[in-house]
């Protein structure tokens, strides 16, 4: 079995697959890759099942090496990535030779790279998933310099015969997320919904896998009472008593007591993973279905 060596872990590198849904009633969120489509794409490029575990590399400035030749693919954030000094294009399949260094520079578009390795990362499965849940503290700890992590056996599927999958880079400009109404619109002042949809928002640097805070005008509440805690989901936009919205992400607490005004649609959810601090953000009401 081959091994991936973490030469330089970077600011926050986590093992993630598609998570462990179905345990919210026991107090456990699903965790998993924040950008599900990026992990799935990287996996398919190396012939892995979409839900194999890979690495979620925040910001970059991380490097890896292997003891055997392995096929790799990168998706999600874009930045300068090299393997043995050669440039690695995103969304392509690349051979990382034994002893070569795979070096991730600072991400220029988006903030979370996904690295898939043919065979997948094979850290122990906990409750059906290898994902790190940063809130519950379950799954492998964030990776550290010098650590070795096991790579799984060759999957049956071959490397697919594609040179490059044309996927746009995450934008560095304004991002628009689609919303559907949440359960507690009636807890807010009459104009709060309009403000949410019309305002220019900005991604706060105080954002992580449990939630993306957004900066902008206060969403005034009509009902200032206390809401009994209720079930939450990734994408739910909770508003704290001072009117500040937070978009819950994959490691959110399973229940929460702040009213939810709106919920980001499933289709817009992956984009949360790539929001850069300070990036401009708008919301739009989803149509259809």
């Amino acid at each position: 079995m081959s091994t991936l060596v973490v030469v330089q872990a970077g600011p926050n590198t986590l093992v993630q697959d598609l998570g462990r849904p179905g345990l919210a009633h026991l107090g456990m969120g699903s965790a998993g890759a924040m950008d599900r489509a990026a992990l799935a794409l990287a996996n398919r490029l190396v012939g892995n099942p979409s839900d194999a575990a890979g690495l979620e590399i925040l910001f970059g400035n991380a490097s890896f090496a292997t003891d055997e030749d392995v096929w790799i693919a990168i998706a999600g954030a874009w930045g300068s990535v090299t393997a043995g000094g050669r440039a690695v294009q995103p969304h392509t399949t690349t051979m990382l030779a034994a002893g070569e260094t795979l070096l991730f520079g600072q991400a220029a578009n988006g903030i979370r790279y996904y690295l898939a390795v043919r065979g997948g990362i094979e850290t122990p499965v906990v409750l059906g998933s290898r994902s790190r849940d940063t809130l519950a503290g379950i799954g492998p700890d964030p990776l550290v310099d010098g650590q070795s992590i096991p790579i799984g056996p060759e999957p049956e599927a071959p490397i697919p015969p594609v040179d490059l999958v044309p996927v746009d880079a995450p934008t560095t400009g304004e991002v628009t997320l689609e919303l559907r109404p949440g359960p507690r619109r009636d807890w807010f002042a009459e104009d709060a919904w309009h403000v949410l949809m019309a305002a220019d928002w900005r991604v706060s640097p105080r954002s992580d896998r449990s939630g993306i805070r957004v900066e902008g005008p206060a969403l005034q509440r009509r009902n200032t009472g206390e809401l009994p805690s209720e079930g939450m989901l990734p994408g739910a936009i909770q508003v704290s008593p001072d009117g500040a919205p937070t978009i819950l992400a994959v490691d959110h607490p399973v229940t929460g007591g702040y009213p939810v005004i709106a919920v980001v649609t499933d289709e817009s959810l992956d984009a949360l993973a790539q929001l850069r601090p300070g990036q401009p953000l708008r919301f739009r009401l989803a149509t259809g279905r």
Binding site: P21, G22, L23, A24, H25, L26, G27, M28, V126, L127, A136, I138, L179, R180, P181, G182, P183, R184, P228, S229, E230, G231, M232, L233, G235, A236, P253, V254, T255, V260, A262, V263, V264, T265, D266, A286, R289
Partner: protein, 202 residues
Amino acid sequence: MRVLPFGDRAILAEYDSLAETMDAFRTLNAARPPGVRELVPAARTVLACIDPTQISLRAAEQWLRDTKAIHAVEGMSDSVTIPVRYDGPDLAETAEFLGINVDELISRHSSAEWQCAFIGFTPGFAYLAGPTGLEVPRRATSRQSVPPGSVGLAGEFTGIYPRSSPGGWQLIGTTDAVLWDETREDPSTIAPGMTVRFEVQP
């Protein structure tokens, strides 16, 4: 009962009381249609998370509306007994607040049949609803670190801290029972709808 929207993958049922919510959750959970991925009970609500490729939000809403909650009868739910040493640091103060003596508090807490309403706060932290007459406020200041196995009271609930965490519940006892173990197939000893009894341990 009200049904409220929750984006494109979920729908929220809201009830008038904790008892009604618990009955509704138990009834809904026993007859989940395909495509309902998760049911997350809370104090007044049940969140139904769906797979839109298998069931529409409209059909899920109809199911929530049509389900007539059945009240629990004895022996209907799984049960677990938790041995407790009533040695918590807030035991005397809690009894005093309730206007009863410590023995009476222990007797009421350990003779009652509690039922898990929902889990929240940390994995495996069960909110257990039981007899009236044991309602106490949270502590004015939370403790920075409550040891695992601490048995507490707060509001209308009793609960057990599965792991060390900050906490504001009134601590009345301690158990050695393991409440959460992620290496087990059923990681949580207590699940919503289960009946829980406490057994006095010297």
